[in-house]
Amino acid sequence: MSQRAGGPNPRAAALHARGTSTGGQAPVGIAARLLEFGEELRGEGVAVGTSELLDAFSVLDHVEWTDRVLFRESLATTLAKSPEDRRIFGLVFDRFFFRAAEMAAVEEGVREDGGIDFDQAGEFDMEELRKLIAEAIQDGDGDRMSDLARLAIAAFGQQGEGSGVVGVDVQRIRRQLGLKAEPQPDLPEEDPRRDGLPRDEIRRFEQMLRRELERGQIERTETLPPARPLNEIDRALPSGPLQDLAAVHRTVMQLKRRLKTQGQEQRGNRRHAHVDVRKTMRASLQTGGVPVELKFKPKRPRRPEIYVVCDVSTSVASASVFFLSVLHALHDSFRKMRSFVFIERISEVTEVFQKERNFRAVSEAIGRDAGVADVSGYTDYGRVWREFREQVEADLHPRSTVIILGDARTNGRDPAAEVFGHIAAKAGRTFWLNPEPKLYWNYGDSVIATYEQYCEAFECWTTAHLEEFVKALTRPVHSA
């Protein structure tokens, strides 16, 4: 919560009063709160150990924990130890302390003075308000935005009745304010909304609206709504068409670097390594010809030959295009790679990826040229296996790897598992990536179980899953 300019925030004061009233320089109140907070972080999958919590306490001895930024950063530096954890920490921190402060306020019976007087709200000039908000968003002025968020709620809360569902109200208010990231050329010249507003700032403004609405709700009902766990979607693979391409690429870069250093981790396992005679002799010169130090041949990471077969029907399309582009970005890790896409029939798209570097261009090109757009739009796995077998069977050998990406939903058609089994037997390894959470496997028309007997199946809907898979893929095989 950003503090408003007009006097100290009564809620924050209430929280602090509670903390200090229990006495001592590290009040009991805050200690218990911190433990709860640690517990909540664990609940979201951040590994917070006892030693981290102890660190957090010792850190708080050294900083003024009445300063919000210092307090937050001190906790962050001891509790969240990766960029990913850092992000989750931020979300949990806001949620937790917002709730804690509201709780304290309800218990102490503190109500905010100078709240919004709904009778006055009618006097707002709507157009003026719209413009003010748009300007604040344009400038990214946080304080003004949070003030205006309250005004907006007051103004629009009076016009239409609130639905009682925070998310719905936020979207309704946003629509009425006409806040869009896209340019709106029909607006007058001087209106800041004309050229479109920064998307991030709009999102920030929505968050403020949400916060204010929740605050109002708590004040009315004097109870806290049940805590929601963080949305899993927050962590899911970038898939929507509006996805930030740079984010996708960063994920790929990360994967690439990890793959490069991966051979390194195998080094410790020297038991099966071969002695490099030439290097050992060379090193022995230093010790007068006595081979004191053995030199080993480095283990080469496996560079598999890869065949990717990707479902691009609407149910999995975005995930598969992302996945294909990841594999192609990783091209140097593989010796040879051919990709196929299918819905009802199969077609090869290896060249499309070699020509186009851009994620969006690729997905367009696949839709346009790949010849999969003109069929009924329902996946037919049986037919796909037969066609795939025809096209590549001659090339398959024990060192090749086949990867399937699909949800294994056959639309009630024949899964032709025996053909798939035949392909799997010809290839060295076969993987299946399913973009659906494991929970949904084998429900409805999903027949992943019939295929799973021939291959290794992975669920793959977050970048972490993807990384696990790429590791499995490049893992050197110990030839027995």
Binding site: H62, E73, T77, T78, S82, A246
Partner: protein, 300 residues
């Protein structure tokens, strides 16, 4: 310079005095590290000043900087200590025949024959130092495990000599480009600091600090452009050091504004990849006003 800073503000102003503008959490974490004696693990993209932070910290605290650059295959012999076996051999050969083996053995495993490497040097130093372990993610996990003793107890065990404990507490910084996940055990012992590219205003301050003569308008334009370029989907986003280089170049050229021509001519300072150059000139170059007569000539 005070040896142990008394507040976060002290650290911040100390760093600022050395030409390093810390963000809020940077100063805080550095302060906590001096107070708690815990190592700092600094992560972030390349070129946001991770290594520079260690240098600035050493300078502002008046301590010596001991640096260990990590790389693939770095081992104890290069990081901790090594016995100087040539000298040992010579010593044995120079020995008269009558001397007993025990006497020789005691002799050749003395400090005289020990080659200290950065880690041992930092521990054994009489004066407190700042120890920088750079790019820890380049090493393997065994090396990390070896660091654990050093990081939690500030001591090193040498089988032949016993344990060498530090008399003065070094401030330890580990940097990582996050190219592999570090072990939990290592992270547990560290304070964590995530450095990211700075906000526009912050970067502008940094650029101004290093090129005070650059006109305000040009500086702002430059930082805006750099931030714009960073948002693009390119292989290597420009680092802070590169923004500073660019600012210096523009200053040398006497630029009064960055127009399309100027941008095209000097772009290679911040973008260093062939494909990136294409992307940037296509996406950013067109947004600039075409070259005006006002621009300074590139070749005097």
């Amino acid at each position: 310079m005070p040896d142990t800073p008394a507040s976060v503000e002290d650290v911040a102003s100390g760093l600022r005095a050395t030409g390093y503008l810390p963000g809020e959490s940077t100063a805080l974490v550095s302060y906590l590290a001096t107070q708690l004696g815990k190592p700092i693990l600094v992560e972030g993209p390349a070129g946001v000043g991770k290594t520079q932070l260690a240098k600035a910290l050493a300078e502002s605290l008046g301590r010596e900087l001991v640096r260990l650059q990590c790389y693939e295959g770095l081992d104890e012999a290069k990081a901790l200590y090594e016995w100087n076996y040539r000298k040992q051999l010579l010593r044995i050969q120079a020995e008269a025949d009558g001397t007993g083996w025990n006497a020789v053995q005691d002799d050749i495993f003395g400090e005289e024959f020990l080659l200290t490497r950065p880690l041992l040097q930092a521990i054994a130093s009489e004066e407190p130092v700042v120890l920088l372990i750079d790019e820890i993610d380049k090493t393997d996990q065994e090396f990390e495990a070896m660091l654990l003793e050093l990081l939690s107890d500030f001591q090193i065990s040498i089988p032949e000599l016993g344990t060498i404990a530090s008399t003065t507490h070094p401030i330890v910084l580990l940097t990582s480009n996050n190219s592999r996940e570090l072990t939990e055990a290592l992270k547990r012992r560290c304070l964590y600091l995530w450095l990211d590219y700075p906000e526009l205003e912050h970067e502008l301050e940094i650029v101004k600090l290093h090129t005070p003569d650059l006109p305000e308008a040009v500086g702002r334009r430059l930082v805006e452009l750099v931030q714009l370029v960073r948002d693009l989907d390119i292989k290597k986003p420009p680092s802070i050091a590169e923004s500073i280089d660019w600012a210096r170049a523009l200053l040398l050229l006497g630029a009064t504004d960055i127009d399309a021509d100027m941008f095209r001519d000097t772009m290679s300072i911040i973008v260093k990849h062939r494909t990136d150059l294409d992307v940037v000139s296509e996406r950013v170059g067109v947004k600039l006003t075409p070259g005006l007569a006002g621009g300074a000539p590139v070749n005097p």
